[in-house]
Amino acid sequence: MFTNRLNRKPKTPSEAKTAGDSSPVVFMENLSFSYDGPPVLEDVSLAISKGDFVSIVGPNGGGKSTLLKLVLGLIYPGQGTVRVFGLPPALARNRIGYVPQHAHLDLQFPVSVMDVVLMGRLGHRRTFGPYRSSDKDQAEAVLRELGLDRDYAHRHFSALSGGQRQRVLIARALVSDPDLLLLDEPTANLDVVSEHELYELLRLLNRRLSIVLVSHDLSFVSKYVHYVVYVKRTVRMRSASTLTHEAAHEILESEHRSVHHNPRYPGKGTP
């Protein structure tokens, strides 16, 4: 066992945390949820394992965001169970790195790139006072890993391009050293080149952590992810490589219908 350890790559803290942890990363069983009305999600069962790269797809209003919020523990299921790393979601939050839609943030807000990334260290420290130098070192290291060198650290967050802003938010999620990365529509408002770069980055990150993202366009994402979770009140999980032609077609059809009204995604979703 000792030699076994020595033969391995240097252990990262995230590996240390998950060692001997056989619970699925995300586990849902017979889960239903509604916001004072008809069910948004009904009888959902799924399991996402360690190291998976999963995309949640589905029409607008189909329950993608609700599913994400359940995993984050921001809302609780009416029926059924949800577990993250074998724990109720709210207790597993320190192992989750969350990347919200950057379009929802106030760009007038006076923050530098460093300010934003350091927010990710808030759960890791005492509850008041300044950040420690170790927090700053960690933040700089993550920014470097994501291809944003020292020049960027003190730039205004709003002075960045959409793709760079998305990287900063990913850095903020990574700086707490999570085991699961959750991204909500990371490619919204990005051009094709930035979108491609982002997926390449996620593929690299997937070597050390599990990734779940919400995405609008299936055709692009299925080249990168292992599984596709299709959400439209009910949930179906399919392996991306064995995604049958009919299933893809069906998904794309409903995608097409849902994005048709959305001027932000012109043309996407058509095969």
Partner: protein, 290 residues
């Protein structure tokens, strides 16, 4: 010039100047949060509720001889209570927030007006509460103001990162384990204390302008929150001092002069930026857009 020579002779002018400078520190720091988090409306409601507290204390003072209480104490109590109620309303009653806060704004004021109308004497009190009475500040007031200032600065320094995170991205902060509601209420509490400081300078009605105007000017020149805070405090000190000095010789109301000055500077800076942007050559970034 008359202001400068009289400043050395008259204690009341020195107190006024000191009050303005002390209030400016809190104004710059808290005003920055108020602008960044877009809660000027809540600050306005807190300010107007203060009239209820001041009116009630003035009534008790005159009618029941409660000499130990000062209107400023009533203001403090009313401001904190209003901040708590308004904070809870804005957290819980999302869809009816503006209605409820608008109602609180007016009801707080109405309570104050009723108390003042039942208080024997002249209506002078009402005017000084509404429009400020910086020239009437006493040494005791200065101590209270300095104490509040120290409390505000201390809290802002202690929780700077938490307030920044909660104001910028509430959802993410919650996921990082911050007690978002607590920090939001604390921020409104600090805003309430700042409102009490500022109302000695410019009065209840004009607090809503003195809080954001220096920040609006400072935001043109700053990238980060703390730069904005420092610059706002500086501009605020500039406006209160210059307003006080300008109003002195022609015997203009000091609070109103400060506000007009702040508004004029904001207007000039905005116009200046507008023209400097128009004169600049077109941005190459626009041509690259697909």
């Amino acid at each position: 010039m008359e202001f400068l020579s009289d400043l050395q002779e008259h204690a009341f002018l020195q107190y006024a100047l000191l009050t303005g400078l002390l209030a400016s520190i809190a104004c710059g720091m808290v005003g920055t949060y108020v602008v960044a988090r877009r809660i000027s409306y809540l600050a306005g409601a807190i300010a107007h509720c203060v009239l209820g507290g001041m009116g009630a204390v003035r009534y008790l003072q005159v009618v029941y001889q409660w000499q130990a209480l000062k209107p400023l104490h009533g203001a403090l109590f009313a401001a904190l209570l209003a901040a708590l109620i308004i904070g809870l309303v804005s957290l819980r009653a999302k869809e009816r927030e503006d209605t409820v806060i608008g109602a609180l704004w007016a009801v707080g004021m109405a309570v104050g007006i009723i108390f003042i109308s039942r208080t024997p004497g002249y209506g002078q009190d009402l005017m000084s509460y509404l429009f400020g009475s910086i020239l009437m500040v006493t040494p005791e007031d200065i101590w209270l103001i300095a104490g509040l200032d120290a409390l505000i600065v201390g809290l802002v320094l202690l929780f700077y990162n938490q307030f920044l995170a909660v104001c910028f991205d509430e959802e993410f902060s919650r996921l990082r384990g911050l007690r978002v509601e607590f920090y939001y209420l604390l921020l409104l509490g600090i805003t309430a204390l700042t409102v009490v400081l500022l109302l000695t300078v410019v009065g209840i009605v004009m607090v809503i302008a003195l809080l954001p105007l220096p920040v609006a000017v400072a935001s043109r020149f700053s990238k980060t929150l703390w730069q904005m805070m420092a610059l706002s405090a500086l501009f605020s000190a500039l406006f209160t001092t210059a307003g006080l000095a300008l109003s002195y010789s022609p015997d203009l109301p000091a609070g109103a002069t400060i506000i007009v000055l702040a508004g004029a500077v904001y207007l000039l800076v905005t116009i200046g930026f507008f023209f400097s942007r128009r004169l600049r050559p077109p941005q190459p970034a626009l041509a690259k857009k697909q």
